[in-house]
Amino acid sequence: MRSRLSRAVLLFGKEWRELTASRAFWLLLAIIGPLVGHGFITAVETYAEASGGAGGAPGALAQGLSPLDGVLVPTFGAYDLAVTLLFPFVAIRLVSAEKSSGAWKLMLQSPASLTQMLLAKGAALLAGWSVAWIPGLLALGLWKTYGGTLYPPETLNLLAGHLLHAGLATGVAVAAAALADSAASAAIVTLGFTVGTWALEFVAAGRGGLLQKLASYTPTSALRVFEQGQLRLSTLAVTLVLTLAGFALAAVWLDPRRRTVERVVRSIAVCAVAAGLLFTSAELRPTWDVSENRRNSFPLADERALNRIRQPLHVTVYLAPEDPRLLDLNREVLSKLDRVLPGMAIDYAARSRAGLFEGPAERYGEVWYELGGRKVMSRSATEEIVLETIYRLAGIAPPSHAGELEYPGHPLAARPTGANWIFYVLWPLVVALSGWVHFRHRSRT
């Protein structure tokens, strides 16, 4: 009998062969290079203009320029597109082809377990996706050769976000392929899921409550967290749970040995366990700001001062979800406070969409801060003013910011030299040549 490891290697080899036999995979590789290249070249040129190159923007604008926003996010944006619209079809094929060809019936009788087989598929897809990352990594290399700066924590965090995004897309696609009768139906289910998450984001925008909470974990929203230089444990855990739930559902529906009723019951059980885990995961508070410019954090002096507050802070916000002031308050103040003051509780008191006209109207726009039995009201969404309010409440002297270093920014007026050739010519040629050699070799062997 084969050891587990050697069987895992064998199954991975089979899945890898099947993956590379898929024209959809080669198409994905061929398209991803120019997509990444377009994002990268445009980003580098725009960054150069903002940095004051070629008679562009004044120097003041160059201050605070971050490669994360300026180059990395737009470059890797291509992968968001590919994961949403291309990669699911590659994943679907890996499952559907075996189902429709009868290979799955043979594999179900083999010594390999269903879990081993699904893990092998997942690993092969991950390996395939890693190959698709080569243009993105090339872009990072090019950026360094131009003299650009990369801050490893925020760069790795962004890559982790994209990896999780791909994992989630794989989980959804594999589950859809297991549930649907054909690859075409699975593709429709997967696209339906994607469009559904977009619709959720659209509907939830400005609504608040559970819908907004749900919408904050859609694949796109989850990716935004990483793009903003945040490593949020809840987002990480929710995405992983959703991915695993997709694979678990696939395991249920890829096993024809069980009755339909039993499979439905098991699916409900998977969904129930996943829902429990999602609920728990969503409550996880730890968040790390890994951005170089600490955009998600207060200045260090303020964080030290806030850390001295031992009593829980209670905030009551009378702003409707669709009110842009609430958006600013959440982004600029409350999300930062939440990381420094873990005991903080926020109560969004204006719940309806027509918050502007709901009662008690006289309180609309107010934000109340309560600490140790004392309450103070402020209407500001500005970081400095809110912090001052809290210090006053806590009886703490505002800290001095003297000597604190401002984020200098990394302006760079560079031209994307060679990028056109690499992404628009060399990469497609390499993929086409590799594909030709691969299929020619396969037709001979």
Partner: protein, 234 residues
């Protein structure tokens, strides 16, 4: 006794595909399952293999009850009409099965040679003719270590000479402690290759035994299998 099947039933909605089917399989024999199209032969095989859950019935393997989830320890079922891993060459598929089942290296090539596939080792499964694909699948089945092989229409797509050669190869398989249970719609082939036969009609077993025993059961002492079959399924 290798395997005993009792009271095997399977319905899809109101369509009763198998009805209280029961029969025995002896060690090292070649047992044929014959029946007209739609008799339930494939469903019977899939239920036996545990790939489809039966509504009721019991399967005993060497005296021990064998649950559906443990059938893969005792038997291997080769479905009809499948074309697995179409993009892969024959050689790779044979090696994959060799490795998957821990068979000696080169055994797949031996079966390929015996099944006259040696000139097709480089060909993709998807490019094979129906008969070539069938012989490749038979080689895969022969690579499995199970004591009982269930082969659905093993001669479908084969010409007369190939059928004869495959029959000869299958005949040698029992010498390696293999028992074969073959679903065959060609009654002449069935009569030639099988030691005993199970006759299935409308999901029910209407006869079981050697040709002589079936003749006696049908009351036609000199009849061929076709006549016997017609008599028992009338």
């Amino acid at each position: 006794m290798l395997l005993t099947v009792q009271g095997l039933s399977k319905s899809y909605g109101r369509n009763h595909v198998l009805h209280d089917a029961g029969f025995r399989i002896f060690e090292n024999e070649v047992l044929g399952l014959i029946g007209p199209n739609g008799a339930g032969k494939t469903t019977l095989f899939e239920c036996l293999a545990g790939l489809v859950p039966a509504d009721s019935g019991e399967v005993t393997f060497r005296g021990q009850t064998l649950g559906a989830t443990h059938r893969t320890q005792a038997l291997f079922y080769l479905p009809d009409g499948i074309r697995p891993w179409e993009a892969q060459p024959v050689r790779w598929v044979l090696r994959f099965f060799e490795s998957l089942y821990g068979r000696p290296s080169g055994e797949g090539l031996e079966f390929a040679k015996a099944l006259q596939l040696d000139h097709l080792l480089q060909a993709r499964i998807g490019s094979l003719s129906k008969g070539e694909a069938k012989r490749t699948l038979l080689a895969l089945a022969l690579l499995t270590p199970h004591p009982l092989l269930l082969l659905d229409e093993p001669f479908d797509g084969l010409d007369f000479r190939q059928t004869r050669d495959v029959m000869a190869l299958l005949r040698t398989a029992p010498q390696h402690n293999r028992t074969l249970f073959l679903s065959i719609h060609q009654l002449n082939d069935a009569a030639r290759v099988c030691d005993r036969l199970v006759l299935l009609s409308r999901g029910a077993v209407v006869g079981e035994g050697t040709l002589e025993e079936l003749r006696a059961q049908a009351g036609k002492s000199e009849a061929g299998l076709e006549e016997v079959f017609l008599a028992l399924t009338a």
